[in-house]
Amino acid sequence: MDWKLWEPLIEFARKRSLWIVSFCTGCGGIEMPPLMTSRYDLERFGMMPNPAPRMADLFLITGYVTPKTLKRIIITYEMQPDPKYVIAHGSCTINGGIYWDAYNAIKRLDAYIPVDVYIAGCMPRPESVMEGINKMMEMIENGTADSWKRYKENYEWYKKNQDELFGEGWREKEARRWIPWIMDDLKRAEKEREKND
């Protein structure tokens, strides 16, 4: 059976059921409550905040991104099933915004993960976020929201940029970084327990 025939219907369904990963990285996280609650009410578009990246379609990156959160963002992004879409809020994700000379804010989010829609502003009002979401829906309908395909096709380039910033093997390194300190705490707790016994 040719699934191509069903594509418009599938795209319509995708457009009308965007589930969001609520990974509020920056100040834009505070714009989410008014969007979700009765005043702007995003749920009428079939969107809802979702606790697990494994079930999400839309990744909202709300505000500035530090290298530390970028590591988590990349991992979360890769955990999402295809198709996945990214909306980046605020000028910080475009060029660093007011953090343009800060050592700890990413200047261009585009270089590390692909972005479908940018919403400029510091912070964007909920109206402009809604406008961005409208745009996102249009793009899904005419099939131009292809960031997840771009990520697959140009994975070497994205990986090169990520490795340049974090160093080779950053995933393992990050996981191992806290182990010595956790072990120390465990040993200390064990000693105290022995003392108490």
């Binding site: 530390k68 060029n95 660093g96 343009w100 050592y103 261009r108 910033l165 974090f166």
Partner: protein
């Protein structure tokens, strides 16, 4: 209302090594030498200054010193207190006040990471805190002689558009 002049005089009577003044209502200020910081903060805590709010560091390259400001709050006397002390820039070592105000551990780690001030007696100074490994290796510091903008340009590989006209930075 508290009589702030009397309060400062009372503290100074017990600690003759300090200098103190009232800046305005609800703000008093003391200056002491760094080797008496523990004695002085112990004295403050015994006299109703319950909370340590923050330890801030200020770098003064022209004076060659780093100024540490211990902000202490008193609920009893309804006043905010600054305890200022200055340590030399090239040998920035000061005793910890962790055992007097336990919350000092956090702020000492902070000042250690960004201003390289060593607090003798704080066991957690070397524990990972805010900075990433690569920032630490690059020697990132909030001291004035560190070229922060150059470091940012190198780290994020931003175009050198800032240098076209030094007066007005264009992003």
């Amino acid at each position: 209302m508290t009589d702030y002049e009397a309060l400062v005089a009372k503290i100074l009577e017990k600690a003759p090594y300090a200098e103190g003044e009232v800046r305005r209502e609800r703000r008093i200020e003391f200056r002491i030498s760094p080797d008496r910081i523990r004695d002085f903060l112990k004295l403050l805590k015994d006299n109703g200054f319950e909370l340590l709010l923050q330890i801030t560091a200020v770098d003064w390259p022209d004076r060659g010193e780093i100024e540490l400001i211990y902000q202490v709050f008193s609920i009893t006397h309804r006043t905010h207190t600054f305890v200022r002390t200055a340590i030399p820039r090239d040998n920035s070592v000061v005793p910890t006040v962790m055992d007097i105000y336990p919350v000092a551990e956090t702020y000492e780690r902070d000042a250690h990471e960004f201003f390289q001030v060593v607090f003798e007696g704080n066991p957690k100074l070397e524990m990972p805190w805010i900075l990433e490994e690569e920032d630490k290796e690059a020697g990132l510091s909030y001291r004035k002689d560190f070229d922060m903008l150059g470091y940012v340009k190198r780290k994020y590989k931003i175009l050198d558009r800032f240098d076209e006209d030094k007066g007005t930075y264009v992003i």
